[in-house]
């Protein structure tokens, strides 16, 4: 590994540690709320149907998988095929985001509101917003990656590896969110 690669890997590692700490803090909060609540979901609130979050999970998993495939193809020097995979990852990521918007409308329609549903609503909306906010950066970096591949930048593989790590990270955070705040 040359020094430039090492620098990039380190920087991405530190960035992911930072991201993990941010979301870890949110999950710590969730654990506290859950364990101190008398009942969950609180009285008068329905559990959220798992259909939509589950579909979102599949979409984001598939997106991560295409990202991984894209990097493999790039390593073999196959730029055009890699481009297809990155495009797919990008498309699936965008579909995930649309799904999240839909989720917020759906929550509203089932009577879970941001301001009147107490901590339950706060968690559902707040946490998914913060995740979605990070997704925007992920999607922007995928868009950037598309153009970088198109122009065949010199250290394109390095960029791809970094974007891929960040993208997987966002996927993992969503899955943890799905398992803890929707399934549990």
């Amino acid at each position: 590994m040359n020094r430039n690669q090492l620098q990039n890997n380190l920087a991405m590692t530190v960035t992911l540690i930072m991201g993990s700490m941010l979301f870890a803090t949110l999950f710590l909060g969730y654990a506290v709320y859950r364990s101190s609540a008398l009942m969950w979901p609180p009285l008068g609130i329905q559990k959220v149907s798992l259909v939509l979050p589950f579909l979102s999970t599949l979409v984001i998993l598939a997106s991560s998988w295409f990202m991984y495939q894209g990097r493999l193809k790039l390593e073999n020097g196959n730029l055009t095929k890699a481009m297809v995979d990155v495009n797919l990852a990008l498309a699936l990521g965008s579909i995930f985001m649309i799904g999240q918007c839909y989720l917020w409308f759906y929550l509203k329609s089932t009577g879970i509101f941001l301001t009147t549903s107490g901590i339950f609503g706060s968690i559902l909306y707040g946490f998914t917003w913060i995740h979605a906010f990070h997704m925007i950066f992920g999607i922007l970096s995928l868009v950037y990656l598309r153009f970088a591949i198109k122009r065949n930048n010199s250290n394109i593989l390095q960029t791809t590896v970094n974007v891929e790590k960040f993208w997987h990270f966002l996927g993992v955070v969503w899955i943890v969110m799905f398992l803890t705040i929707f399934v549990l």
Binding site: R3, N4, L6, Q7, N8, L10, A11, M12, V14, T15, I17, M18, G19, M21, L22, F23, A24, T25, L26, L28, G29, V32, Y33, S36, A37, L38, M39, W40, P41, P42, L43, G44, L114, T115, T116, S117, G118, I119, F120, G121, S122, Y125, G126, W129, I130, N155, Q158, T159, N162
Partner: protein
């Protein structure tokens, strides 16, 4: 993200690219220095207003009063008083000490002392400063709002910091500013960690790095891990304030599930305790180096000092509960946090003993950087000892939220870090600006700071022990505290004195910039890498990347034959 190859970047040509959006770590360091000194002044004026109110409650503030508080006849009004101590704490910690110690010295020293041409990611470095700038701007805007700035203390505990406790945009902007500042700090952290790991000059092992770099590096690691925790906390607080969520608002738990105000305290201190070490570690590093340089002796147990600093950093992540003994924690938890807190004394005692070992029988030169370093040894000793009283549950239950705590953290943080910062400024000023600072003025500044400083902070310990609570507008409405008025006016007099002597520093700084004697490349006769190149260094620092052959503290070796009592890190070690 593309990294630097430690290659020579072309020199910028326009004013804009040289001084404003500069990628050069030396320029960014100076930007942070000016930024920090500006906020130090602002925070200092706030401190004087707080002190005036505590010593002479109800008496109009001279000069400033008629300008700032004309509605109340020059007296600081109660709500303004809360804003003052809130913004004083926030400004000093995030906008004065952090930029000077971490922003300025970190940026200046890391590449120079490890023999690199710049940081690993110069552009990220530039962004880091401008995020800090934006954050400072937001904070200053919040001072000018009709309902005033944040007033819930620098710790911003809910319910004080929710809409119930502080309506108005001040607290929201406070959160935004802190979040932006966190973004800036973490950008810096990514850079520092990566730079130290990848850009050390050939031959420089980790234990060949000056201890300054050790301090800054550990600080950067703690920053990267714990600033995001605060980030999450203020993000939720912003959601509570702006969007109407209830993360930190208690409610009826059966019907809506209840938010939890105390959760914020946990989140704040999980960040906050490491944060206090984030601030002190660079100062420890600088002092460890300077004590050796000016005693003309190798640093005693330098390796042990580095490892002790590392253990403190690790332990500092496990003790945050000692800030919350009074929040009805279970005794099992308080006892555990107390034990862990006490454990920190062990590594702290190790490097403290090493400091004493370093100056023991040294040929001490009492130049201004050394005076300030010795000052740190003294005040940090006192501050550390008072920590033990607070770390012990039984005594803390009485001392918590009194001025004893305020005295404690001012000794450790304000005094030690401030003096350490001054030591660093006097030491590196010649390298930064190519001019020497005036030594007489520096010595006047030292004694004019050191003596009143102890009057202030020891006075705080005393009134705290006497039962005076912090953050109260007029404590003397309680009859039992009226006997403390004389000590309080002593504290205030000392504070005004200390403030006045800072003017000497500012004059010296500005005067030396223009008229100081020209600095030679190595005015202090020390061997670390930055002193092998001209003052100030050229744009790319090193024409040739240096090769390191010995440690940073090779001083006073009797076998040195070349008429010097020190050797450069680029020279083969002369066997003792």
């Amino acid at each position: 993200m593309s990294g630097g190859y430690n290659e020579i970047h072309p020199e910028p040509t326009t004013f804009w690219s040289t001084y404003i959006i500069s990628f050069d770590h030396k320029v960014i360091a100076k930007q942070f220095l000016w930024y920090g000194i500006f906020f130090l002044g602002l925070g200092g004026i706030m401190a004087l207003l707080i002190r005036w109110t505590l010593a002479y409650p109800g008496v109009p503030v001279p000069v400033l009063g008629s300008l700032l508080f004309s509605d109340s006849g020059g007296v600081v009004p109660p709500d303004t008083y809360s804003m003052l101590f809130t913004m004083h704490g926030t400004i000093m910690i995030f906008y004065a000490i952090t930029p000077i110690l971490i922003g300025a010295f970190g940026n200046y020293c890391i590449p120079l002392q490890i023999g690199a041409r710049d940081m690993a990611f110069p552009m990220l470095n530039m962004l880091s400063f401008w995020f800090a700038f934006l954050s400072g701007l937001v904070l200053i805007i919040s001072l000018c709002l009709p309902l005033g700035a944040a007033a819930g203390g620098w710790t911003s505990y809910p319910t004080l910091s929710t809409l119930i406790g502080s309506p108005g945009a001040g607290q929201t902007l406070w959160c935004v500013a802190i979040f932006l500042f966190g973004v800036s700090s973490t950008m810096g952290a990514v850079n520092y960690v990566t730079t130290v790991i990848t850009l050390r000059a050939p031959g420089m092992g980790y234990f060949d790095m000056p201890l300054t770099i050790w301090g800054l590096w550990l600080t950067a690691i703690l920053n990267a891990i714990f600033v995001p925790v605060l980030g999450a906390g203020v993000l939720l607080l912003i959601l509570d304030r702006v969007m109407g969520t209830t993360f930190f608002l208690a409610g009826a738990s059966a019907t809506s599930g209840s938010g939890d105000p105390v959760l914020f305290q946990h989140v704040f201190w999980i960040f906050g305790h490491p944060e206090v070490y984030i601030l002190i570690l660079p100062a420890w590093g600088i002092v460890s180096d300077l004590l050796s340089f000016f005693s003309r002796k190798p640093a005693f147990g330098a390796k042990a000092t580095a490892l002790a600093m590392t253990s403190v950093s690790i332990l500092s992540t496990l003790v945050y509960g000692h800030h919350m003994f009074t929040t009805q924690m279970s005794p099992l938890l308080t006892q555990s946090f107390m034990t862990l807190t006490m454990t920190i004394s062990i590594p702290s005692a190790i490097f403290f003993a090493n400091w004493l070992g370093t100056i023991w029988k040294g040929s001490i030169r009492f130049d201004s950087p050394m005076l300030f370093s010795l000052g740190v040894v003294f005040v940090f000793g006192l501050g550390g000892l008072t920590g033990l009283h607070l770390g012990t549950v039984t005594t803390d239950l009485y001392l918590h939220d009194t001025y004893f705590v305020v005295g404690h953290f001012h000794y450790t943080m304000a005094a030690s870090v401030l003096l350490g910062g001054f030591a660093g400024i006097y030491f590196w000023f010649p390298k930064m600006f190519g001019k020497m600072m005036n030594e007489t003025m520096a010595k006047i500044h030292f004694w004019g700071t050191m003596i009143p400083l102890n009057g202030i902070f020891f006075g705080m310990l005393m009134v705290g022990y006497g039962g005076m609570h912090r953050r109260i507008y007029n404590p003397f409405v309680y009859e039992s505290l009226q006997r403390l008025i004389p000590i309080n006016s002593m504290i205030t007099t000392s504070a005004i004195l200390m403030g006045a002597f800072q003017i000497v520093f500012v004059i010296n700084f500005l005067w030396s910039l223009k008229n100081g004697a020209k600095a030679v490349s190595n005015p202090w006769n020390v061997g670390t890498l930055e002193w092998t190149i001209p003052s100030p260094p050229v744009h790319h620092n090193y024409d040739e990347i240096p090769v390191v052959k010995c440690g940073p503290h090779e001083l006073g070796n009797p076998n040195l034959k070349n008429g010097r009592d020190f050797q450069y890190q680029t020279e083969e070690l002369v066997e003792a």
